[in-house]
């Protein structure tokens, strides 16, 4: 009998895991709540550090899961522990008994309008990192003027922010901001581009090189200070205030576009899933792994595994690596149980 494995979430973690698990010969089900696969990455334009276009990447990932049963616009209504494993009832009416479940439910982008002082949704030229990627993907956006003279990026929007309920660093935003700053400078060479940061957390492969490029080759200005408030001037520009902490003086600048680097937050759905499947939540609000060092992909419960940003903020390569590791762990787990 072919064993059933259900993967919750059709982002890059779910796609990669589905491919690996299917190749290992299991009956694989992929449950995705939205109407498309690929998750957040699918709507991104290019990925650092090599500026790979995401569209072909996601296309390849999707074409690699032929044979996997995909349920789009479907949510998990209930999870019930049974003798064979877990019985999942889905919102489309289908019930599946799975020998193993992989949670790859990902993250939620912080809702930038919650930082009211930045005026997202109120001022004409305030956008988020996701909006900018969509614009670069060809979507029209009135908020980005035809020839901006000054563009700003606010790092850590909703991240490292206890009052916003997120103590975690969103990990990729510093790099995303630098990437997007460079992309904007390439499009608008005459514009001054400012990055407002608290710390630059550029830990990954070639990230620091990107930073050097941004400084040396593109002349992007880095201002160490968090934007405190944004307001609109009479000519419709944005006035941004921050403290220049490196010189200890208040600073203001007028911008034509302000990009808010919305951070990765816990997907609120995991709360429900954790209750249904009796999974533990870690102190940072993300799903709790068996341990956070050697066993990040195993949950506290037998047969339930994690991959990707459901356990914390992750980069794309980390997520893909976890997905593969999870596939192998599931395989070993099932071999053991046979």
């Amino acid at each position: 009998m072919k064993q059933n494995i259900v993967i919750i979430g059709g982002g890059i973690a779910g796609l990669e895991a589905a491919k690996q698990i299917h190749n290992l010969g299991y009956q694989t089900f992929l449950v995705e709540k939205s109407d498309h696969l690929g998750g957040h990455v699918a709507s991104w334009h290019r990925l650092f550090p090599d500026m790979i276009a995401t569209k072909p990447l996601i296309k390849d990932m999707i074409s690699a899961i032929k044979g996997v049963t995909v349920f789009l616009e479907t949510q998990v209504n209930d999870v019930e522990g049974v003798r064979e494993g877990y019985r999942l009832s889905l919102s489309n009416g289908i019930n599946i008994t799975a020998q193993a479940v992989l949670v790859a439910s990902g993250f939620q982008l912080f809702e930038a309008q919650r930082k009211e002082e930045y005026g997202y949704g109120i001022y004409d030229h305030v956008i988020t990192n996701a909006d900018l990627e969509a614009w670069m993907n060809g979507n029209k956006d009135q908020r980005i003027p035809a020839a901006p003279k000054a563009i700003g990026f606010v790092h850590c929007v909703g991240s490292r922010d206890l009052k916003a309920g997120n103590s975690q660093c969103s990990k990729v935003c510093c790099m995303t901001a630098i990437k997007q700053a460079i992309e904007m400078k390439e499009r608008f060479p005459n514009a001054e581009v400012y990055c407002f940061y608290m710390d630059l957390r550029l830990f990954g492969k070639k990230y620091e090189d990107f930073y050097i490029n941004a400084q040396r080759d593109f002349g992007i200005h880095f201002v160490r200070g968090r934007v405190s408030e944004v307001s609109e001037t009479i000519d419709g520009r944005l006035q941004v205030k921050a403290e220049d902490t490196l010189i200890g003086r208040p600073l203001k600048v007028q911008l034509d576009t302000l990009v808010l680097m919305s951070g990765m937050c816990c997907n609120p759905l995991i709360q429900k899933l954790a209750e249904q499947a009796r999974l533990e939540i870690d102190s940072d609000g993300f799903l709790k792994s068996r341990d956070n060092i050697t066993n990040i992909i195993e949950s506290g419960r037998e047969g339930i595994f994690f991959a990707g940003a459901c356990t914390g903020t992750k980069t794309v390569p980390e997520t893909v690596a976890e997905a593969r590791a999870a596939a192998l762990s599931i395989h070993n787990y099932l071999l053991q149980n046979d």
Partner: protein, 105 residues
């Protein structure tokens, strides 16, 4: 004018929109590596005259981007080159100082 015993105090805010950064732009043309400063402060920490005059290339370079008066710091530099030696980004700090001393007025 009436003397009220108090007057409008000068704003300490740096207004990047109106700030004249031509001095910095001029410097960048002469010393392109100056753009690479990441404000680590090694230069100021090792500076030979730092302990007497508070000299720090970082402060000088940042100061001219923020409209600060850095003349006193500049005039104390002995060009010994320790800052060049310690700079992790390889900024040509001596060239930066010499050129600033030329264009600063």
């Amino acid at each position: 004018m009436i003397d009220f015993g108090f007057t409008l105090s000068k704003s300490s805010t740096v207004d990047l929109t109106t700030l004249d950064r031509s001095r910095y732009d001029q410097l960048i043309k002469l010393v392109p590596t100056a753009r690479m400063c990441m404000n680590c402060g090694s230069c100021g920490a090792t500076c030979t005259v730092g302990e007497y005059k508070g000299m720090s290339v970082r402060k000088v370079l940042y100061g001219i981007q923020r409209g600060e008066d850095v003349k006193a710091m500049l005039s104390s530099c002995m060009l010994c080159g320790k800052c060049t030696m310690v700079c992790p980004r390889g900024i040509n700090t001596r060239n930066l100082i010499l050129n600033l001393c030329k264009i600063y007025d």
